[in-house]
């Protein structure tokens, strides 16, 4: 019968969902498991609990340089992408101009392009122009891939923005700048913070572009990759991975919380599907 058929489908769907989650997240669980395991080989069975791999991290000078580089890159990327993303999102929400759809599509393209293509595509002209590779070229690459995320997050904030609020502010004697400061900024601020957090996280994790476009300064993911050649370093890399995992989760949760708050402020229903995460 129809009802039982639907129940059967629902059962298979939940089996599928659980399997999917296990395959997706089981490897992630392994990370903290071995990070706290007192053995140099990464293998079962586990031996004793230890935090010594975290101490090793603390004592590795090269790692600290990579962390500094990554933070610099991620922060710059977050700021540049969010400024560009906010401008594009507002332009898309507010103005009609010829060729708007193709222009916006073009800006959003890196969202679906494989990163390896973005990386190679950027590398060639940079070399051709005779520019030297540095953290700044990495930032340029990261801005390219982060801006679409920023636009996606901020366009809901700007799309839902009632333009009569801006007009009301002007009507009440406020200047354009004052209107931006007192009305627009407070209303889109949670979206801005959300965009900063997401872009920061994406940049912090990104490997391929950072690998192709950096000079002698390496970012954290590139450093980790370089250490994987030494089996004895593997447990401490697991510890580092655990820290990064925890940090990413915290940042993403914060970002989503801010995005929903932005939507709520404007009285828009904040749906799960509306967000990116």
């Amino acid at each position: 019968m129809r009802g039982s058929g639907r129940r059967g489908a629902a059962k298979w769907l939940s089996v599928y969902a659980v399997t999917y989650m296990v395959f997706l997240y089981a490897p992630v669980i392994l990370l903290p498991l071995f990070a706290f395991n007192d053995a140099t080989v990464v293998a079962f069975p586990l031996s004793h609990f230890t935090t010594k791999w975290f101490v090793v991290l603390w004592q590795t000078e090269a790692l600290h340089g990579a962390v500094r580089n990554s933070l610099m890159v991620a922060l710059s990327t977050a700021v540049f992408s969010t400024v560009l993303g906010a401008s594009a999102a507002r332009a898309a929400a507010r103005y009609r101009f010829p060729g708007k759809a193709p222009v916006m599509g073009f800006i959003m393209l890196p969202l679906v392009l494989p990163e390896i293509i973005v990386a190679v595509a950027l590398l060639v002209p940079i070399m051709q122009m005779g520019l030297s590779l540095s953290l700044w070229t990495v930032i340029a690459g990261h801005v390219l891939i982060c801006t679409p995320f920023s636009i996606a997050i901020l366009s809901s904030a700007f799309q839902g923005f009632d333009t009569s609020l801006e007009e009301a502010s002007l009507d009440l004697g406020e200047t354009r700048l004052g209107t931006f400061r007192r009305v627009i900024l407070p209303l889109v601020m949670p979206g801005i913070v959300s965009s900063l957090l997401i872009c920061f996280t994406i940049s912090l994790d990104e490997f391929i572009i950072a690998f192709f476009l950096t000079g002698t300064d390496v970012t954290l993911p590139v450093y980790i990759w370089s250490q994987l050649r030494f089996p004895t370093k593997l447990p401490s890399i697991m510890a580092l991975g655990t820290i990064l995992l925890a940090l990413s989760v915290v940042l993403l949760v914060l970002a989503e919380w801010f995005r929903r708050r932005a939507a709520r402020r404007q009285g828009i229903e904040a749906s799960v599907t509306g967000g990116l995460v």
């Binding site: 009569s164 609020l165 004697g173 404007q266």
Partner: protein, 367 residues
């Protein structure tokens, strides 16, 4: 206060606004007087909001000029104009509370915190929202949002308050109440109000003067009574209230007025004062007469200036009133007649033969 005697505060001369090849407004000329309640009335899309936005300074006319208080407004931004707007959506700042919303504009002036607080409280009292200052924007009902928007405009003490369909989002009962309150408030503070509405009843109830607009042009500008009694065109006549149209032909024009032959009612002479000056009598082909200007005589002895025979073809009972549809024996479309249901007057069934009384004074001439 007699607003008609006051001097002009807003002059619109040949105001035109085009969007591409489309004329949203075409050569609008009007003078709005100090202290009057002026309404822009017309069907949706006729350009009312466009005109209001030109006055507020959110948009500039394609050609023509607007001046407020004798000052030309060309190139003067919205934040420098002595006007304040009540938006159709109310545009209450969602991240500010009621007091912060109302005081928003005052913070751009050189006022102390205490002065602002006092002004805000006064403005809230004016719209019956004493003590609501601490409420968050999302805690307000539709009617309260409307009042906050009004207080936010009034607190600025503008020369002119602009209202874009401020009551259209409210339910019927609240709307009826707000019409009366808004009118009373305007009269007590004496500030010029310009109201945009598509609701003819609302315009009639609230306004000192009404400009009826169709397709970007002002069709007629007059007091509610004049507009109702002496509509200039058939279109204005049917937009405002109900009007019976009957075919008629021009007979003669003399010192005693214009004589026409109304097919269904007979020959009548309209005295000169009742004939619009702009009308060329020779082009008259229709007359109009309001439903309440026709009466169904209960017996042939009842006095009436003139009368005609007919029969009832339909009735609509409204409690206090009954609307009859009557086919006149002389021909033409059936006419609507409204009768007050006074004591001793029963509702006539369809098919009843009736005598319809009417008078020359209630006939409106159309070309």
């Amino acid at each position: 206060m007699a607003p008609g005697t006051n001097k002009g505060i807003i002059q619109l001369s040949d105001v035109t606004r085009t969007f591409g090849a489309f004329y949203a407004l075409r050569k609008i000329n009007a003078e709005i007087r100090e202290g009057e309640f002026f309404s822009l009335l017309g069907p949706s899309g006729c350009g009312k909001t466009t005109l209001l936005r030109l006055i507020a300074g959110f948009d500039e006319p394609t050609s023509g000029a607007i001046s407020i208080g004798g000052r030309p407004m060309a190139g003067i931004a919205a934040n420098k104009r002595p006007t304040n707007m009540v938006f159709q959506s109310y545009a209450i700042f969602p991240h500010l509370n009621v007091a912060e919303n109302v005081g928003y504009g005052l913070t751009t002036r050189k006022l102390s915190k205490a002065e602002i607080a006092a002004e805000v409280e006064k403005a809230l009292a004016m719209v019956d929202l004493q003590g609501f200052g601490g409420r968050a924007a999302h805690e307000l009902s539709g009617g309260q949002r409307q009042r906050v928007a009004l207080a936010r405009a009034l607190v600025m003490r503008p020369k002119v308050v602009l209202l874009d369909e401020p009551l259209s989002a409210l339910d019927k009962k609240l709307r009826d109440q707000m019409q009366v309150e808004l009118r009373a408030l305007q009269q007590s503070i004496g500030i010029t109000f310009i109201l945009v509405t598509h609701d003819q009843e609302e315009a009639l109830i609230m306004s000192d003067r009404i400009a009826v607009m169709f397709e970007g042009e002002i069709a007629q500008m007059a007091s509610p009574e004049q507009l109702y009694r002496r509509p200039r065109t058939k279109r204005v006549a049917s937009f405002i209230g109900v009007m019976n149209f009957l075919p008629a032909t021009f007979v003669a024009q003399g010192d005693d007025g214009v004589t026409v032959d109304i097919t269904a009612l007979g020959r009548v002479t309209i005295r000169p004062g009742m004939v619009p000056e702009v009308l060329n009598p020779a082009t008259i082909d229709t007359i109009g007469i309001r439903p309440e200007m026709l009466t169904i005589l209960s017996n042939d002895a009842e006095p009436a200036e003139r009368s005609a025979r007919g029969s009832v073809t339909g009735t609509s009972y409204y409690g206090d009133m009954t609307y009859y549809t009557v086919q006149l024996a002389g021909g033409g479309d059936p006419v609507t007649i409204s009768m007050r249901n006074t004591a001793g007057r029963s509702v006539l069934p369809s098919g009843s033969p009736v005598t319809v009384g009417w008078g020359a004074e209630s006939v409106v001439l159309f070309e």
